[in-house]
Amino acid sequence: MTDASSAAPALPNRVHSILTESADMRRRNAAEGRFKLYGMAAIAVSFIVLGIMLWTIFSDGLSGFQQAKLTFPVTLTAETLDPKGNKNRDEMAKVTTVGYGKVLAASFKAELAARNIPTDGVTEKELVEIISKDAPGGLRARVLADPSLLGQTIEMTMLATGRIDGYLKGRVTMQTAERDGNVSPAQLQFADLLIDAGILKTGFNREFLTNPDASDQRPEAAGLGVAILGSAYMMLLVLIMCVPVGVAASIYLEEFAPKNRWTDLVEVNISNLAAVPSIVFGILGLAIFINFMGLPQSSSVVGALVISLMTLPTIIIATRASIRAVPPSIRDAALGIGASKMQTVFHHVLPLAMPGILTGTILGLASALGETAPLLLIGMVAFVDNYPSAPVEGFFDPATALPVQVYSWASRSDPAFIERSSAAIIVLLVFLVIMNVTAIILRRKFERRW
């Protein structure tokens, strides 16, 4: 060996060593570092966008759970509200909300006078406008429910109008008020006085979760009650309709289906249905369930049917995976001691696959809960301000759904509805988080490795 090394011609002055980096290697290592950096940057972009999105939604929406409310004693003058004086509900029902509005306005002014709050600079009309247009209706319902309130003075808390609410939350400022036809700077200054007097306060907005939707002029009164109820009805129906069919279909395809053309066709169909755009299911629902079968528009039953068909592939795919995960030895053992094929499946395979099926079902329902586009087509975007009645009739009543409410508020012009829309998303996300966490807990708790 020593001969060989001494005989070799002297190398040109290029030092190749794995211990020192050549220029070429430096270049390649730099490329390596850059490549890795691109990967990290891509992930960082996703994280940042997700962060920005959640931040904007929470910063816009959290204030939706607070609401400016006015509290002052209201004298229910019997002369205006019950002109005949019989305390007869049918006669009293003839007094419209206009009458109650007058009562509220009179009480409001009386309270201002009693507390020596100066009202100069604010016209009479502007003064009354501070009270939400929704308040007289609420008072009317309360009085009609309990006519004995007539003539009494009750302490009432009612919503302030949307612009005043926006002022308390910083959305409306003196500058924007000057350009705004719905509110004047004088009203805002007056609102400051009301805050000092303790009449105007922000408090937790329970009505947002229970009230039905309200018209464009009354963003302060709009709530998610009907939407939450509609979504709950739909999820219940999806659970009833979709899960048994999905599980049965999966059992057939995994355990019984012979390898033939029909089975192939079903398999191809399911994988294709999973990729069909959701709006196509909306068209299907409109054409078949509403136009052909004559089911009522905007009802939760139609929404649930459409969403069931959409969710079916998801549930089938999840169920099949968990049935497949049950080892063949279980089946062999059951068959070996004389169980029929059907008994093997229903007594052994299915119970063992249950946790997986449950997890898949919850995740499928979670994605169904956020589905919007098909519901627009079957009319759930309509303005619904009556609660659907109790099941079973309630399934056929018009309703909206949470994600659809997000969309319909987002498309209204008043900026106060953007807050509502974001707040509705927060409610939707809370439901989604609950469902996903449940699924993860179930998976952790029952997951079994064979």
């Binding site: 390596e32 972009v45 069919v245 079903v266 755009p277 079968m293 919007t372």
Partner: protein, 486 residues
Amino acid sequence: MTVLFLVAIVLALAVVGYVVARGRALSSVKGNVRELHSLPGYYGWHGFIMASLPALALLSVWLIVQPMVLERTVATLMPTETTADQTAFKLAVADIRRLAAGLDVAVAQGAMTEEEARSLNSESSNVRDTLAGVGVALGSDVSPETLLAAQEYRVKSATGTLWRMIAVIAVAVAGLAYAVSVTNAAFRARNRVEKVVLALLIASASVAILTTIGIIWSMLSESINFFRQYPVFDFFFGLTWSPNFRGGSELGFLPLLWGTLYITAVSMVVSVPLGMFTAIYLAEYASPRARAWIKPVIEVIAGIPTVVFGLFALITVGPFLRDWFAQPLGLGNSGSSVMTAGIVIGILNIPFISSLADDIINAVPQSLRDGSYGLGATKSETIKQVVLPAALPGIVGAILLAASRAIGETMVVTMGAGAAAKLDLNPFEAMTTMTVKIVGQLTGDTDFASPETLVAFALGMTLFVITLGLNIIALMIVRKYREQYE
């Protein structure tokens, strides 16, 4: 007697069937279970199935057929010109139904007696006002023929409902009696029950096929209606989209296709690089611990409803792009634009591409990487020159699937892309897509006879065909790739 009550009766009979059949099986062998062919429960279930299944099947058929038959019969009472064509017929029937339902409400509220509802005639009283009194609003005044038809409809449907109840209960009882009569020790109850269960399983599996048939049928039939009123050539090659509900609209498909493809292209420019680099980093570089928390966070994006991304496009991305790019560059001042929708759809698709690509990259055998390292390649060289080429077919498949999702995406474009159908190159201009127009033409008041409404079905059909085609190609590519390493 409501349907629900009838179902309850049938189910009660079925429970009786379970108990009686099981008891009879047991008594036929004097309690010695071993002499029975099947376990006692199977005799019970046989009774349950025989009592409920045929009766429920009859009930569902009846529910579908009765209204159809009734419509045919009462329509003969209407003047012929009002039922001449399909649309007029549907309208007439809807009127009759609404009136009949109104009369039902009036009777239920006690505003009129059953007798009055039957003998009411339009000369002696104003039906519309009477019904308005009980909170039923009718669109137009009631013609004598409609009133007559509605009364006939009520009477006939009451008779039908009565017969329905009798028939369904009779079938249930007959099934029960049959099940009880065949029950003896030698009867193969288990085989029979298992056959029925298998049939139910097959029926469930066929729902997927029925759905596909339903989709194709519903869109095809209405599309054909549309193309009867609007020339096929003008639709597919028309350059203007200006629907006008008073007639004379131009419904050219190309501006919508252009908007759809433009937005999809922008979204792919965003989602492919970001999704691919995310997948590469997760599959090749990330430590197991980093992977364990990065992957779930990326999947959170996939779990967020698209309407949330729509709102994000509307209130954050749109104004941002307008104020920082479009206006300074003088490219327009619209918040909703191709860029807005495209970027947001791109973000929406990142987790989709990254999780598909992640699986595909992980499926490339380690031996290929080891061979590359052995030749002295760095990690990134290995990825670029060995792993990605090996995974290419799968990645192409994933990209096609993502493109199909972008084409079919609805909420983001509805809220972020605008509604103006334009053939324009400026990406900061508002444009519109097929899905936006489907939503636009089908929400609100719709008239299923006008081409302006029916065009949505033709658009839906085209959308369905495009996405289905992309999916089939993608699955074919993915499948072909899989065969190479297995």
